[in-house]
Every structure is written in structure tokens, then in C-alpha cells.
């Protein structure tokens, strides 16, 4: 087959860049692009010229120099002789830890509050309205400081746990012999892993995966045969038995280390510092209020007919929520949830207000200060937060695609 007709070739004239609608938009886009490039390059050249005038340059060599300062919460071993780079990594991990935990708890708070706000019980729904309105209308920094001040003043001073110098009994002791709430933080037991302990740990992780595998098998079996297999008891068995066997076979390689009072504070055990608790709780409860509204909006978006139809089939109210309404509501909830997770991650940089050593505290705080490399540090900070935020978006978008309505 041959082409029947070519579109008539119009003669391009320079004036058509403005007069012809086909080209006009390109002209304006080109002008806008040039304007952006010009203004950005002006700012960059201005920066470089000013740095040059001050006799400074952009250099990341300081990252290899010893940091010289200590960090209290260390997810990886660190001491003051390690490099600024390692201090940066420690700070980044602290950011990720608190952001991850806050995302999880904020979601839990949000879902509970969002569902309960729609409750038919007047008191409960009003209580949830109060929670949402109070927490989302006061800046998170204020909440952070309030919670920090409360924890530092409500919990008993650690001095009361100390053994007095005359050898008498201390005023307070561990609750149930395992944990203590003090104004320096909460001290809890921690697990210690001897040689072989990691095998027990990985067995435990494998067991959890096993439960999900079993769950999908139960579901498949139900759909194939119509018979429901027991779930909870086997699941419990999968969770406990392999780990227990492994633990006993390997000669009890996992122990529990209790906090024990030293000269000044509890040694051993795990310390959840006041700063960490305050930051975690403030971020969760503040963002939880926003998520509650997302959840409420998502549920209200589901037509009432769905609930009524499910009720007509005799499904219990709790199961209507979890099996019919929430799965559909997720499609509405997840896109705004992404931005809430991003908010948590970015808001975690308020940590310095309570002295939690996150990335802004290490790289953007002490390192910046001690080296004076402000521009370099801030550029790195921007890169980190940008990367993390984009990764969260990517993951949540992937999840959103997996739950969204599949149109065939």
C-alpha cells in the first residue's frame, strides 16, 4: 500500500512562532525554560563568585576527618574517633528509625481514630473529633516540646533509683524487676545474641513469613473447596515451635539482659531516651490526626449500599469494616497517606529541639558547626531527605497500584 496523501507541507515562517497556535506554546515553553535556566545559573554563579571572594571552596574532604564528638543513640558502633561520614550515617539511621516507627504508629492511631470518629456511639465519635482537632491544629514542634517536658518531669528522677551512698534501699526499683520509667528515658530488657543466636533470630523471621504462606494457603483452600481450615492454632504453632526447637538445639544462645543500676544510671538493657520517646510520640500522634481524617474520608467515599448489602448477607459489623469497606477505602486513603509519611520523615528533622541525634543533629548540626562547611552539609542533607522521600513515594505508589481497582 502506498501513502495516499501527504499532509500539505506548510512553509514555516519565523512569524509563525507567535501567530500560529501550533508553535506558540513551544515558543512560550522555550522562553520559560530559558528564564529558569538563566535564573538558576545566575544564583549558582553568584554563589561560586561569593565563595571565591571569601576564599572558600566546595569540598567534601571533611567527611573523612575524625568527627571528635559523641552520639548517644548508636544503631551502629561509633566513637568520637570515627569519621564525620560515619557520624552522618549514624544520624541518618536515627532519622530512619524514628521515621519508620512514627509512620507505623501514626497509621495505627489514624486508622483507629478515623474509624471510631464514624462510630454511632456519640461519646466515642466526639472524643475522636476532639483528638483530631486538637492535635492537627497545634504545630508539631509545640507538641514535641510539650511531650518532652512532660516525660522529663512526670517520670521519676533517675536519682531515686540509685542506691544511696549509705547502702540503704533506693526509693524506687524496677517495675516487675524488668523495666524503669525515669526522666532520662525508659529502660527495658534487651535480647543478647551469643554465637548461634542469629540462627534463632532468622528462624523466627522465617516463621513469620511461614505464617503468611500458610494464610494464603488457607485462603486458596477455602476458595477451592469451600472448607475453612483452622488458622490461629497452626499459626501459633508455626510461630513458636521452630524457634523454640532451634533455641534448645543450639543450647540457649539467646539471653535477656536486664537493666541494672550502676553508679549513675542503668547499665545494660535498652534505653529508650526521653528525646526519642518524645519525638516518636509527637510525630505519631500529630500525623495520626491527619491520617484519621484521610481514613474517615476514605470510608465515607464508599457507598452506603456496600455496607447495607454486606449486612443483608449477614456479615458482622466488624467484618463488614475489615472485609468490605476498608479494602475499598484504601484506594482513597493511600495517595494522601503517602504525603503524610513524607511529612513524618521531614518533620523528624525537628529532633534537635529535644536533642535527638538525627541527621539534622549530626551532619546538619555538630558536623556543620565544627567544620564550618555549611553549604556542603546542607546540600547533603537535601540530597538525603529528597532520596528518602522519593523512595517512600515510589514504594507507596507501587502499593497503591497493587490495591487499586483492577479494571479488566
Amino acid at each position: 500500500m502506498t501513502t495516499l496523501s501527504d499532509p500539505p507541507k506548510s512553509d514555516f515562517r519565523i512569524g509563525m512562532l507567535l501567530s500560529d497556535t501550533r508553535y506558540r506554546s513551544y515558543t512560550f515553553q522555550f522562553i520559560a525554560l530559558m528564564a529558569i535556566i538563566l535564573s538558576v545559573s545566575y544564583l549558582v554563579s553568584n554563589l561560586l563568585a561569593n565563595l571565591d571572594r571569601l576564599g572558600q571552596d566546595l569540598s567534601y574532604e571533611f567527611l573523612g576527618a575524625p568527627a571528635g564528638y559523641d552520639i548517644n543513640q548508636q544503631p551502629i558502633p561509633y566513637n568520637s574517633q570515627d569519621t564525620h561520614l560515619r557520624a552522618t550515617v549514624v544520624g541518618a539511621m536515627n532519622t530512619l528509625i524514628v521515621a519508620f516507627l512514627a509512620c507505623v504508629t501514626a497509621t495505627i492511631f489514624g486508622v483507629i481514630a478515623g474509624v471510631l470518629r464514624l462510630s454511632n456511639n456519640w461519646i466515642i465519635s466526639k472524643l475522636m473529633s476532639v483528638y483530631v482537632e486538637i492535635f492537627r491544629n497545634i504545630p508539631v514542634l509545640i507538641w514535641l516540646i510539650i511531650i518532652f517536658t512532660i516525660t522529663a518531669n512526670v517520670f521519676a528522677p533517675i536519682a531515686e533509683f540509685r542506691i544511696p551512698r549509705d547502702g540503704s534501699d533506693p526509693a524506687r526499683t524496677l517495675i516487675f524487676g524488668v523495666m524503669a520509667f525515669t526522666n532520662q528515658g525508659v529502660f527495658v530488657p534487651r535480647l543478647t545474641f551469643d554465637a548461634g543466636g542469629m540462627f534463632v533470630f532468622w528462624t523466627f523471621i522465617a516463621s513469620i513469613i511461614g505464617i503468611f504462606v500458610y494464610k494464603s494457603y488457607v485462603k486458596k483452600h477455602l476458595f477451592a473447596t469451600g472448607k475453612e481450615l483452622p488458622f490461629w492454632l497452626p499459626a501459633l504453632a508455626i510461630l513458636v515451635v521452630p524457634t523454640l526447637v532451634m533455641y534448645l538445639v543450639l543450647g540457649r544462645p539467646v539471653g535477656v539482659q536486664l537493666p541494672e543500676m550502676g553508679r549513675f544510671r542503668f547499665e545494660g538493657g535498652l534505653q529508650l531516651r526521653t528525646s526519642f520517646i518524645a519525638l516518636w510520640f509527637a510525630l505519631s500522634i500529630y500525623t495520626g490526626a491527619f491520617i484519621a481524617e484521610n481514613v474517615r474520608a476514605g470510608i465515607l467515599a464508599i457507598s452506603k449500599g456496600q455496607t447495607e448489602a454486606a449486612a443483608a448477607l449477614g456479615i458482622r459489623p466488624g467484618r463488614i469494616m475489615s472485609l468490605v469497606v476498608l479494602p475499598q477505602a484504601l484506594r482513597v486513603i493511600i495517595p494522601p497517606l503517602i504525603s503524610q509519611y513524607l511529612n513524618i520523615t521531614k518533620n523528624s528533622s525537628l529532633a534537635i529541639a529535644v536533642g535527638y541525634m538525627d541527621l539534622t543533629g549530626t551532619l546538619g548540626g555538630i558536623t556543620l558547626n565544627q567544620t564550618g562547611r555549611a553549604i556542603e552539609c546542607v546540600l547533603l542533607l537535601m540530597l538525603f531527605y529528597l532520596t528518602i522521600s522519593l523512595l517512600i513515594s515510589l514504594f507507596m505508589n507501587w502499593y497503591n497500584n497493587s490495591v487499586k481497582l483492577k479494571e479488566r
Binding site: I37, L38, S41, Y42, S45, N46, L48, A49, N50, R53, L54, G55, Q56, G68, Y69, D70, I71, N72, N79, S80, Q81, A152, N153, P157, I158, A159, R165, N183, Q184, G262, R263, F264, R265, E267, T274, S275, I352, A353, G355, M357, G361, G365, I366, L368, N369, Q370, T371, G372, A374
Partner: protein, 335 residues
């Protein structure tokens, strides 16, 4: 290609513009006030009084420089800075002079491109603990929780001290000195560490100062002094010699009370502008030092009225006595 050309042209204009930057002295004179960076509030060193007027030992340096340059000790705009913001404020030109308990160190002088004009207080880092903790030396603090003001040299000294003594500690980094004091008083940390002068100053404000002790250990040298930006040596000279004038005046017995009295000492006359033309050499008039001294008096008077033993801060002169009295204050001669 076009872009490169444009960038080049742009860089050229920016450079041309930067060449025309006025000297700090001219800028200050044109502005009519001196922008001076101080702390956000350390009693005795820099703190607004009940009327909102900044008072203190560091503030006095700002006022002396303002009086020397502008003829008015009140022609100062005080810019409160934290440990973190102070250097950026100075480097960016937001302030002309930083008088904020800042330790003179090698890297700050060289790498950060600043110029320390002298030392107005010889200090050392110390520790404060509650008396009932039963500690008599910092080496007994193994395992203690220590509040530190973040962004200062104290953080590094502390790490070095505990590491060299092979003992552990739990650092609690805090943004400002007053928050650190609150945490310390609430018992959230056992020890508060900073320069000993600041410890004494903060303790004076406690409800029960006697319940807290300063440990005898001094873990670092902290020469605190005012600083200016690198590169403007004329401005640096003015700040340096204003500070030296305060110190020399005390050495020569020149006080705010006897500025107009006749003196047979030629150095006094040179200092006060009656002989020679020292003022012209630094771009000021003859009576610059006299005006600087008229604001708060000489170094000794400033010390006594802000942080001396008669004040609630109650600091002894110690290292900060004149060299003739066994201290470290030693100004080069005015000649």
C-alpha cells in the same frame, strides 16, 4: 554555547560587583550603628536587663568598639546568636563583630576564615554537679549523663576528656545554655559542662546555688575573644586595639573617672589622643580610645561591674588579672 557565554558574562558582572564592596568601617559609619553578635543570654556576659538594654562583659566590648568608631556606645544593634548560627552570621556580613564567648581555635581562625582580635576572657571547660551526687572529681563520672550545649568546642573537649580517661558517659546535646540548665535542674542529666565562667554565671541564677558544685577539673583551655571576618585588616585592627586600649588603660591606671585628668605618663597621653596620632593610623580620630573608655571604663571596671566578685556571678580575676598581678592580660604597647 550560548549558555556558557551568558554564564561567563554573568560571572564577570558578579565579580565586578564584588570588587566594589565597601570596607566594614565605611559600612558601619554609613549605617550609623555597629551590628554586634552576642549570646542569646548568659548572665553577666550578655543579657538584656529589666529595661531591655543589653548588659554584660561581652556587650561592653561591642559598646567600646561602637564608641571608638561612631562616638556613641549605644549605637549598637545587638544580634543574639546561638552556638550554631554565630559563624554564619559573621561570615555572611549580618554582623560586623562577634563578641560571644567564642573560643579562639586554630581551625576557626584559619579554615573558617575569621580573625580573632584578642582574648577578653581566659576560660576553661569545667563541670557542675549537684552536691548530693557525692562526686569530687570529673574522673569519677564514669557512666554519668552529661548535658552539653551543641555546636561548641565543649562537645569535642568532653569527648576527648572521657576518652583519654577511659571512662564512658552519655551525652545529651542541647541547643541553648538556658535549656541545658533547665534539663540539668530537672535531673535529666547529672552533669552540666561548659566554660567555667558560664557555669558560675548560670549557678548564680539558681534558686539554691549552694546545692551545686563546680568540680575542680579544668579540661581545656578556652581563650574567649571577639572576632571579625578575615580579609578586612583595617576593621580587625580597630577591634583589636579597642580591646587592647581597655586592657592597657587598666594597666596604666586610666579609669572612666580620670579620663580628663592631666597625666605625666606619655603612654597615657598617646592612648587618650593628647600626644601623637595613633587614631589616624587606624582611620579614626584622636579621641577614639578615650570614647571607648568612657562607656564602661577600663577592662578592670568592666570586669568588676559585670562578672566580678561583687556581682552575683562572683568570678575572681584569676587568669584574667593583669600580667603584673600574675594574670595573663598583656597588651602590646601603644606607641
Amino acid at each position: 554555547m550560548k549558555k556558557t557565554l551568558f554564564l561567563g558574562a554573568l560571572a564577570a558582572t558578579t565579580l565586578a560587583a564584588s570588587g566594589a564592596f565597601a570596607s566594614t568601617l565605611d559600612e558601619v559609619k554609613a549605617r550609623g550603628t555597629l551590628n554586634c553578635g552576642v549570646t542569646t543570654g548568659v548572665p553577666g556576659f550578655a543579657e538584656p536587663d529589666a529595661n531591655g538594654v543589653w548588659q554584660g562583659f561581652d556587650v561592653a566590648v561591642c559598646r567600646a568598639v561602637a564608641a571608638a568608631v561612631l562616638g556613641d556606645g549605644n549605637a549598637v544593634t545587638f544580634v543574639p546568636t546561638t552556638g550554631k548560627t554565630r559563624f554564619t552570621a559573621l561570615a555572611s556580613g549580618e554582623i560586623d563583630l562577634l563578641a560571644r564567648n567564642t573560643t579562639w581555635t586554630f581551625s576557626r581562625d584559619t579554615d573558617l576564615k575569621f580573625e580573632f582580635v584578642g582574648v577578653n576572657y581566659y576560660d576553661g571547660q569545667g563541670f557542675m554537679v549537684p552536691k548530693d551526687l557525692g562526686v569530687s572529681s570529673a574522673t569519677e563520672l564514669d557512666g554519668a549523663t552529661v548535658c552539653i550545649q551543641t555546636g561548641t568546642t565543649t562537645e569535642l573537649n568532653l569527648a576527648d576528656f572521657f576518652r583519654s580517661n577511659n571512662i564512658s558517659y552519655e551525652p545529651v546535646p542541647i541547643e541553648t545554655g538556658s535549656e541545658a540548665v533547665q534539663q540539668y535542674l530537672a535531673g535529666a542529666c547529672d552533669v552540666y559542662t561548659t566554660d567555667r565562667s558560664a557555669l558560675a554565671a548560670q549557678r548564680a541564677n539558681f534558686e539554691t546555688p549552694d546545692a551545686h558544685v563546680l568540680l575542680p577539673d579544668v579540661v581545656s583551655k578556652e581563650p574567649l575573644g571577639p572576632l571579625v571576618r578575615h580579609g578586612d585588616n583595617e576593621w580587625g585592627d580597630i577591634a583589636r586595639w579597642t580591646l587592647n586600649a581597655l586592657i592597657t588603660a587598666e594597666e596604666l591606671g586610666v579609669t572612666s573617672a580620670n579620663l580628663d585628668a592631666e597625666s605625666g605618663n606619655p603612654e597615657v597621653n598617646r592612648l587618650l589622643g593628647r600626644e601623637g596620632d595613633l587614631g589616624a593610623m587606624i582611620g579614626l580620630d584622636a579621641e577614639w580610645a578615650k570614647r571607648a573608655l568612657a562607656v564602661g571604663g577600663n577592662y578592670g571596671e568592666i570586669f568588676a561591674s559585670n562578672i566580678g566578685s561583687e556581682t552575683p556571678i562572683g568570678l575572681a580575676r584569676g587568669l584574667n588579672a593583669q600580667w603584673k598581678d600574675g594574670g595573663l592580660l598583656y597588651s602590646p604597647p601603644f606607641r
